[in-house]
Each structure stands twice: as C-alpha cells, then as structure tokens.
Amino acid sequence: MKSKIAIAFENCKKEKRPALITYTVAGDNTKDNSLKILNKISKHADILECGFPHNTPIADGGQIQGSSHRALKNGIKLKDVFQIVKKFKKTNPQKPLILMGYFNLIYQHGENNFINNCKKSGVDGLIIVDLPYPENKNFANKCKKKGITFVQLLSPTTSKERMIKIIRDSHEMIYYISMLSTTGGKLKVSARKILKNYNKIKRINPKKNLVIGFGITDKTISSLKSANGLVVGSMLCKIITNSVKMGQNPVTKLDKVVYNLKNKIL
C-alpha cells in the first residue's frame, strides 16, 4: 500500500507543481490554536510538519526557538502533541502529517513507545534533527516496520559517497537542507546553486521525493518550484509571533499566508 506521503507527492506531480510543506510547532501559540492552524492550512498545504518542542534545540534559529518557547510555556507535553495529531487526523484522515523534533524527547519516551504512539495517533513520518545517518538506521527500520516514513536529511556538506549510502537506505521522502544555516536564516545561496545541488542528488535516485527546506519564504519559494517539495517553517513561526504581539488571530493570519504561498508555486 502506498503511503499518504507518497500519494501527496504523486498528486502534486500530476499538477506539475512542488508539494507545499508547512512547519508549525505543536502548542504554538496555544494547544487549541495549533490544532486550528493545522486544520486551516491543510486546505492549502500538501504535507504538514508539526514540531514537538525542545528547550535546547541546537539547529534552530530564533523564530522556531520562539515558537518552541511559547509552546513549552503553555505546558505542552508529548501526550498533548499526540492528542493534537489524533484530533487533526480525525477530520483530515488523508492529509500526511510529519512530526519533527530532537532525539532526547524520543529517548526519554522510549523509542518503541514513541513509535507506537505515532502509529496510534496517525503520524505519517518523522524528522529527527539530531539523529544522523548511520546512527539512525536502527530507528529508521523500526519506523518502516510500522509504516512510518523516516525522513533522512542531506546538507550541502554531505559528501557524494555519503549521499549514496543515505539515499540507498532512505524511505520515500528525503529532505535537502538548502544552505549552511540554522532554520530561519536568510537564503544566502542563489536558487540556481541550490537547484544544481538538488539535481545532483536527484540523479542518484530520481524516484525519491526530494524536498528543500531552510531559508524558504514567500519571497524565495517560486524560484525553487522545480523541486518535488518545498518546506516553509520559520516564516510561519514569525507570523505567529507577530500576530500574538499585535493582538491578531494567528489562525486566520496563517491561513492567508499559506494560501498565498500555495499560489506562488502553482
């Protein structure tokens, strides 16, 4: 059986456009709002990434740190994250949802317990920022057995030799980090150069769905639309921060922004 993630990519290919992938943090700015946000933006986005926050994130820039901090201040726990996913899946059973976060939370929760809870709540995939290849092989296999996609990451520093190995062991989706940066950095590499690297990776195995993330905003997204998928995260976190500051409703605000993002890649 095809995964919902694979189906989402197929549908986008039929429409000759990249998949729009959003990242928001569970519990930001409140538990309820984060669920409302997922429900709203799922009308425009093809795949949703949902962050489970950690208070010592070593690869996140200021925007995602801010969102994580807000969520943790609201008392978000992993059990709440799974609840949010479960409720979201109840109304959007076909929409793929990927959890993203740091390994210590999984380690404390217990790997098997975590994967089981993912399965039960309807999580489709996982991105673990600080569990690189090949240390992640065992965990990725456990995910696969439960039908959960483990998304491997590639970066501009990844050697070709290493890429070949990672891609060989990867599942149907791979994440390419556009540049040397934490999340939310300004795109400091030209779209042309990013796509050049992207195409190099694609040639290793054209069947894998390769998405690009880091530095993607409404300003840069259309220049990269030949990719299989594009991830927008920090920009959305920033909009939540700004709406909270201005006393606006982050749910309606984000709905509009994601709608606009989608229009830019059609």
């Binding site: 950690h54 010592t56 380690y107 404390q108 600080d130 970066s155 050697s159």
Partner: protein, 410 residues
C-alpha cells in the same frame, strides 16, 4: 555492556564504532550539516596526535606559552589545622591566564591553523574558556568569537574585560537561563551556519565526541606533570592517595586524573550542589539524573521526565551546567571515580579557609573540591594524601566574593 576501564588504552579511545563509551555515553547526536566538519576534524586530530612534529609544537607552547609545569605544593598550614591527611594542591591556576582552560584553547588554535581556518568560535561559562581562547587566538592569528550567557557576563566581569582586551567579539546569549548551557547551544548553532570557514572550540569535555577527546587530550598535560611531581615528592604513587577535582563539564578533572587511570589513586569529583536550601543544583551525577542527550552527546543530565533540559543553579558559573562529560559518566558507572557535591556555602567557606591559611586563592570552582578536602582530611590518617586541583584563580570571582563575604582579600 562493557563497563570495565581497559588498562593501557587512553580513556578517550575506549569507545565503540558509534563513539559511545560503555555503549551508552557520548556519541555524535548532531545535525547532518555538522557530520562532515566533525568527521574532518576527527580525522585531522587522529593524524595530529600521532605526528611527532605536532606533539613537539604542542609541548613547546605548553612549556613556553602556558608555563609548564604548574606548581605542586603542600598546604602545610591547612593540613596542620585540619589534622589527618596530608593536603597538597596542584596549582594549575598558575598557568598563563589563570586556569586550565588554556590547554584546550591552545590545542584548538594549533588545530585550527592546521585545518587552514581563520576564524575560531567558542563558548564560555565562568569566562575562563573564553578568555583563554581569545588569548590563544590572538597569539596564533585567528579571529575569535565567544558566546557567553548574559547572566554570566554580569557575574564574571573581569574575564569579560580580558576577552575584550584580546580583541574577541563577545556575543551575549539571552535565551533560556542565559548561562553556559545556552552559550554552548548558541555556539553550536553558529557553527552549523559557519562550519565552512570557522573552527569550533567546545570549552569543556562535552559536546560531540571529537570535542570531548580533544579537550581531555589537552588537559592531560596536568596529570603528566603531576605524575612526575608526585614521584619526586613521594618516590612513587603513594598507596593511599585521593585526587579531588571539581566537575562542571569535567575538563580539568579529566586532565588531572588521566595519567593516574591505571594506578591505585582514588578519584573524587565534586559537583556544584547549588545554594543550601534550594532544590536547584548543577550536580547530575550526585543527584541521580537520568541519561539524556545534550549538545550532541548522551550523558547524565538534569532534565524533566519529558526530556526538557532542567534549570541549574550554582554560585560558580564554570560548574553551572546541567550535563557532564560522557567520560565522567563512564568513570562513574565503571566505579573508577566517585562523585559528590558541595553547596555554594561550603564552597565559599572553603575559599575563605584556604585563602586564609595558604598562599593560593582558588576560584569558586575548585573551592568546591577544597570543601570536600576539608570534610575528608580530618577523617583520614596522616599517612594518606589528598591532592586538590586548584584549577582556577579567584580574581574573576572578586565581585561575588565581596558581595557574599563582605570583602575580597587574596
């Protein structure tokens, strides 16, 4: 799981293929972007440590720049006052800059030069790691950036001034608790974004495995000197000898113990117990914290049941860290070393007593170790020996000491 320390093999090399000690501590829990720079550094370091020319260079700078060997002295008045064990100190604070952090900083700058990097970036808590890195960077012609918690910038002013004087760019970290843990996080983030041009120096035996290794390999100079000094003083390593060292990240203790690993010397690490009546502390080993991942490494770490890193508190910025070196976790579980803690108050009292009787002035970090020596000595026979690593000078703590004790007298 193998929890035996192997004899004849450096402790830093007793890891498996995943760079884990005892199958559960250490490793490289890092973002993909850092995999390549860390692999490159791992390869470069493994070559350099076998390279006679590099070792000669290291020894040259340790002797002529750091000032090796640092003194080994008997604290006769303190010994007489307490009665019991003979108390000695290895006065590492006599090293250039006033603390053991100079060893790691010097080696990292030498490595950065070999790697062709022009920029070096580091974290600091007490400010000694930052001060030394800025000194060494200046000496070796590197441009230096230091990440330091905003709280620590306030409480360790003298070291901040020194860093500025050395031309370092100090970046105040205002996230989280604004202490060492946040400085290390922010420094790692900076390295993620700049690893193509910049070398990173982690200020203690923490972080991804290669940084644990380089740091412990560098501070090992302390025990190489001490081994010679002990043999000169006693003719051999005494039957009953205890080596006491404070531990935050654990870099000075690793250096202090390394050469004595295969002897019968007893190792005692003293963590920061925090204020007497506070629930907060910085003593994950003493207080039975669970294993978790912090800054790329599996270790005992103060955290909640979810895995969020916990708050810490200590009067000494250098020990105020929720984790602890994977090497110390390994030594603890292998029962090769024992760990305990001293409170803020005990450390201050120890500082006062040592400064009163002796001609040394330990900073608040080693004062934690002296506190344990003061507790232990009277219970021991006069044939027993205690050596304390006085790894930092109190000058940086003069504001805190003045505030807590009314005056600062060296």
């Amino acid at each position: 799981m193998n929890f035996k320390i192997k004899k004849g093999i450096p402790l830093i090399d007793q890891h498996d293929k995943n760079f884990m000690y005892g199958g559960k501590f250490g490793g490289n829990f890092i973002p993909e972007t850092l995999k390549k720079p860390i692999d490159d550094l791992t390869e470069l370091f493994s070559k350099l440590r076998k390279d006679k020319k590099f070792l000669k260079e290291r020894d040259f700078y340790f002797k002529n720049y750091v000032g090796a060997p640092t003194p080994f002295i008997k604290l006769q008045k303190l010994t007489d006052y307490l009665g019991g064990a003979q108390i000695y100190a290895k006065v590492v604070s006599e090293a250039n800059g006033g603390a053991h952090k100079i060893y790691n900083a010097t080696v990292h700058c030498l490595i950065a030069n070999k790697a062709g990097k022009k920029f070096i970036v580091g974290d600091t808590g007490a400010g000694y790691a930052g001060k030394m890195l800025s000194m060494a960077a200046k000496k070796f012609g590197l441009k230096c950036k230091i990440f330091m918690g905003a709280k620590d910038i306030k409480r360790q002013r003298p070291n901040v001034e020194a860093m500025k004087k050395n031309g370092a760019d100090i970046v105040p970290v205002t996230t989280g608790s604004q202490t060492l843990v946040d400085a290390v996080s922010e420094c790692m983030r900076y390295w993620v974004a700049n690893c193509d041009t910049t070398h990173m120096c982690v200020g203690s035996t923490v972080g991804p495995n290669i940084f644990v290794k380089i740091c412990a390999w560098s501070t090992a100079q302390i025990s190489r000197e001490l081994m010679i000094q002990v043999k000169e003083e006693f003719g051999k390593v005494p039957e009953r000898i205890k080596l006491l060292n404070c531990v935050g990240g654990g870099s000075s203790a690793m250096g202090f113990w390394n050469e004595f690993m295969d002897t019968n010397a007893e190792f005692i690490g003293i963590e920061a117990g925090g204020p007497k009546n506070s629930k907060l502390h910085a003593a994950p080993l003493t207080n039975g914290s669970k294993i978790g991942i912090l800054h790329g490494s599996a270790q005992y770490v103060i955290q909640d049941s979810e895995g969020q890193i916990g708050r810490t508190e200590s009067i000494s910025a250098g020990l105020d860290y929720p984790g602890i070196s994977s090497l110390h976790c390994f030594l603890k579980d292998a029962k090769r070393a024992k760990y305990t803690s001293a409170s803020d108050e005990e450390a201050l009292k120890a500082y006062q007593l040592v400064s009163k009787f002796e001609n040394i002035s330990p900073s608040l970090e080693p004062s934690h170790a002296f506190a344990e020596a003061i507790k232990l000595a009277p219970k021991l026979k006069s044939s027993e020996v205690i050596i304390v690593n006085s790894c930092g000078d109190s000058m940086k703590d003069k504001d805190i000491i003045r505030q807590k004790l009314g005056s600062y007298v060296r």
